[in-house]
Symmetry: C2
Subunit: 186 residues, 2 copies
């Protein structure tokens, strides 16, 4: 009989980041993560395929939010559509996720393999956004440029959001960064 552990997933995520920060990603085992969370390895594998998945779980949901934002936006101006998608995707990053996101980024920055995985995630996001813009009838080059611009704004804005001392919410930061990009290219 499988017993559901309330909050197990969140406890495993917190425990994993604690271990990764202390011992490095490569130096941490699933057994250690489970023990730190006070849970069994079996419970770990009920929630995550492997230790890397702790850092990348929710990736499909993250991409889906951007694509849904593009599909649901009003108008046909590519950048306005991408701006709406950025707004929608900020729902994935509520305030209480900021500290976790910061700690996660530190683990990723310390490991080239994780960096490559993160870059692939963002590259796939740009591809999915380009496809969604194309489905709205936008030509290939503007679709690709609007998607790449959206991902660039997200990258720069997200790095700002998790910087030490930053207190503005992510949607406010993303709007400011998009405004800066507009004035740079004006």
């Amino acid at each position: 009989m499988v017993r559901w552990q309330p909050g197990a997933r969140e406890r495993l995520q917190a425990a994993a980041l604690e271990r990764f920060a202390a011992e490095g990603f490569d130096g941490t085992t699933v057994a250690e993560i489970a023990a730190t969370a006070g849970l069994t390895e079996r419970t770990f594998f009920r929630h995550f395929a492997d230790k890397r998945e702790v850092l990348f779980a929710g990736q499909d949901e993250f991409e889906r939010l951007f694509v849904a934002g593009i599909e649901d936006a009003d108008g046909t101006d590519p950048i306005a559509v991408v701006a709406a998608a950025l707004e929608g995707a900020t729902g994935f990053f509520p305030e209480d996720r900021r500290a976790w996101s910061r700690a996660r980024q530190e683990v990723i920055d310390a490991d080239p393999g994780l960096q490559e995985r993160e870059l692939l995630k963002l590259s796939k996001l740009a591809g999915a956004m380009t496809d969604a813009l194309r489905r709205r009838g936008i030509d290939p080059t503007p679709a690709a440029l609007a998607a790449e611009s959206g991902v660039a704004v997200f990258r720069v804005g997200f790095a700002t959001w998790i910087a030490e001392g930053e207190e503005r919410p992510l949607p406010v930061i993303l709007r400011a960064v998009l405004g800066e990009l507009r004035s740079l290219l004006a």
Copy 2:
């Protein structure tokens, strides 16, 4: 005594792409590449550390061209500086490299590990460009946005350059793509 083989490097690069296209990257050995080029494995290793290096040789030179372009550009407008860097970097992609670049991209697109390596290369390029813009006194956010925009224009323009049937030279395409980005964000 080491005998220098004239044109060996170019023959090895052509042979490697031929084998990768036919057998896949993973399915190709250095021995096969050398044999296809009519050269020895020893000669191969005089030119490349491993078979992946055939695809990524010149990466430092590629990045150096962008950074030098930023350092040498006139003015302080971040996008104008990046535009000058894009112009300078096109020297890395003369017309007679277009067919090779197209074949190389097909090999990379077929292999997730090579895709990750290519993404890491472009991410490092954006970082190096951001640092070079910062050294010119540009603030962190505009420096990062201008660098990311430059890499986005390069990615989209390069994909256009190697598309079947495209005949415009890369500098012409990059100027057109940057112009499209400007009008999108206007």
